[in-house]
Symmetry: C2
Subunit: 476 residues, 2 copies
């Protein structure tokens, strides 16, 4: 796969002005001197990032998936004519990544378009929950006979996804007889786990999650690439954008040259100043669900009880999802006037794919008339600029990642930038950014409550250790 | 309107067990003694709530809208046959409330249902942003000639909504000629502001936001009732639920009898213990968008720079949106192992409207086989129970509001409960929960940047006060 030569116009930029003491003063802001002093930390963490690069398999995905991409494109091209609907069965990164890319790059009302408007690509659904109402509801709007289901779980032991799979498989068997296997494509580990065993036995088409790629770092492997290709997203450009970002990040080691390191160290210093909240606020509906993807990446990677030496540190910074301009009428009041506990990260878009003019009318009403002759695009940009300015004036840390436009190439950059930023933040915090030990207790309790053999004690623990007191339950 | 006699089965309950020191110990948990000591605070704040009740016009909406409800139902019945699409143009509470109620009570894939499946009710859209791509995209999927647009802004000076209105009005004029006015219904102040003036001049159907009802407390007036009625929601039951909750709350003054006071005082005490984050985590896709509605209510009401005496307090607690079980694979790792800075509020549902069985299969694979014979409903409940238990074991404050089922009556209760809780939390914090002064700076800067006469200085301030330094912008 050729990586196109990036022009400056094609690249996102990272603007941290309003994080800085130059603008915010020294109490809230971070000074250039702070950053210079932190360079030694950056150097050490950067060296560890280099040493661990071979373990961070996700960092090679922009290069390692070349052959897989061709297989995915061939499969997607053949499936396009066959299926009216494509349904992802997945949770965590397996749901968040495909949703974020779909929303970013496809039509905002994609599933409501006619087949012709969709250029023949199938409708697209992500079932990332086990809510019975939503699950049953899906079957009211899709015909299983013309639907392709993509079961995504690396281990094949994700209860939610396997439950979905069992239901869909049985339904397909009853409806389609022996042909049902052609309606299931599995994305899973190539050799280990339950799903690959089942897929081989039943003859499903399979794609593989490379060894060592965890869920929240899996968007640039078949977990994300197959769903994206199924709706016509240019997945080569997605990977090319990631590769171009990798080239930038790999060749720069300092806070004033490497945007992932700069963003990571600023968050690290901000955490030190008591900013335990990180708001992701795209000024773009297309990027709204990207905030959900980021929330998993940031929360699950950095939220850790112990550091690498085993000391209890209870690390982490809580991601908050917001959307410009909508949240100016919701959360921004708090961001501006509430506790000084946040960093606000804006995602800005230079050029939208549409321009919408606001007609002039009601010239005698000044509060309405001033809008006429402008465009929604101008209003959107003005409100973003006004909000960052208002936050600055209120002494609130904020920064902006500017995408010249939202396309597969810039989105690939953004995904890769935030992945490296997260890994770097993990290094600075001295924690393991790639595990998730905190969800084991809940998983085991679920197994117990669901009667899985071997987990009887976990059921007992829930039933006996924490029986609720009626005096703390108010009811009518 | 008759308020049906609520049976215990019809009422939500509030379970705060895992907020308590009995379970969490005294460092994290709140003791019964803490609550008893706080009763004096509750008494004082409750008295102020009583004194101000006549100012809190939203508290009377369950009773004051009786006549309006009949008008709305008559209008909706007549519009039902005429229009294929109903589009809300609104932002803040005008978008969040209608969206939350629609998602809670209608089919999860409502707009993709056939007209027959929707029983003839129109498709439903909420345009709560000015993103040009989404706005233009909407016009790809609706035919304006068969669409009714509901412009909602109390003041008629909300830039985003008025910009949307100008665009839609011009498009309708061009497409439909003089008939266009029948495609617009305005929800606004009865006497003041730009929109009522325009509506009268142009002959739009109008509904009114009662004096003194702010955006985030407006769901139970025509702002929310008209959109709900347009999709067949039983708005009488919505108000009846709110009235039933009011009856409960108005007759109970103590922490162990009044669930709104209990929840408010627990949050107040938790804030005092450094919990600056409040997670709203429904275990129900239907209630997913209710977390967005709550986020505005909690953030905008409590995030305040000054208290009622004018002292700088920078009050507030940051709402975080989560969804069970989905977020067990995203944010729950952080909630369990990260900083001790949160209260997690679960919304639980007793009975879902659907039951989905998980078929038995793959008996030789224990990690899959244990799921068979259960239902998604059981799995959902087990995971919720397991998560609250895991959070408890990790020393994390959590509580549950249990809805016996999600219907208009319980939803009305929930809306009213959280509104009173928010007002009570404002009283306990000593701030004004009903204004939003922090968004003025951004609004004025927007006016300046958009060239509104009289706001030239605001443009100058943005341009001159905070010019960005290129050294803090990293680009390729």
């Amino acid at each position: 796969m050729s990586v196109p030569a990036g022009t400056q116009q094609d690249f996102l930029s990272v603007d941290v002005n309003y994080m800085m003491a130059d603008f915010l003063g020294g109490t809230q802001g971070i000074s250039a001197l702070d950053l210079q002093r932190a360079q030694a930390l950056i150097d050490k963490a950067g060296q560890r990032m280099q040493q661990k690069r071979s373990e961070m398999v996700w960092r090679e995905l922009p290069y390692s998936q070349t052959a897989v991409v061709e297989q995915i494109l061939a499969y997607a091209a053949q499936a396009k004519g066959q299926f009216e609907n494509f349904v992802v069965l997945g949770i965590g990164g397996s749901g968040l990544g495909p949703t974020a890319v779909h929303q970013a790059l496809n039509h905002p009302y994609y599933n409501e378009l006619s087949a012709a408007q969709r250029a023949g690509f199938p409708r697209f659904y992500v079932v990332d929950n086990i809510d019975p109402e939503r699950f049953a509801g899906l079957l009211d709007v899709i015909n299983p006979a013309t639907t392709l289901f993509n079961v995504i779980t690396k281990s094949g032991s994700t209860s939610e996804t396997m439950a979905q799979f069992l239901i869909i498989r049985e339904m397909l068997r009853q409806r389609l007889g022996t042909d049902y296997a052609a309606h299931i494509v599995a994305t899973t580990d190539q050799t280990k786990g339950n799903l690959i065993a089942i897929a081989c036995e039943e003859g499903y088409k399979t794609f593989f999650v490379p060894d060592g790629v965890g869920g929240r770092f899996s968007e640039l492997c078949p977990v994300g690439l197959l769903p994206a290709a199924m709706t016509g997203v240019d997945i080569k450009q997605l990977l090319a954008g990631a590769a171009a970002m990798d080239e930038w990040l790999s060749n720069c080691r300092t806070w004033d040259s490497n945007p992932a390191y700069l963003r990571a160290v600023l968050q690290y210093l901000a955490i030190g100043k008591g900013k335990n909240i990180s708001v992701m606020m795209p000024y773009s509906e297309a990027l709204k669900y990207f905030a959900d993807w980021y929330a998993q990446l940031w929360a699950e990677s950095l939220g850790k009880r112990v550091d690498l030496a085993g000391n209890e540190v209870f690390a982490g910074q809580t991601p908050v999802k917001a959307l410009g301009v909508t949240d100016q009428h919701s959360q921004v009041q708090l961001f501006t006037e509430g506790p000084f506990d946040k960093v606000v990260n804006f995602l800005a878009v230079g050029e939208f794919k549409q321009e919408v003019a606001i007609p002039s009318a009601f010239g005698t009403i000044p509060g309405v008339a001033f809008l006429g002759g402008h465009t929604l695009n101008e209003l959107m940009q003005a409100e973003r600029r006004a909000t960052e300015f208002a936050l600055l004036k209120a002494g609130r840390l904020n920064n902006t990642i500017m995408l010249p436009e939202v396309n597969a190439y810039t989105l690939g950059q953004l995904i890769y930038l935030l992945e490296v930023e997260t890994a770097m933040a993990g290094e600075l915090l001295g924690i393991d950014a790639f595990d998730q030990p905190g969800v084991e207790a809940g998983k085991n309790a679920t197994y117990g409550l669901m009667g899985r053999p071997g987990y009887e004690q976990n059921k007992q623990a829930v039933d006996q250790e924490a029986p609720k007191l009626t005096k703390y339950i108010l009811q009518r």
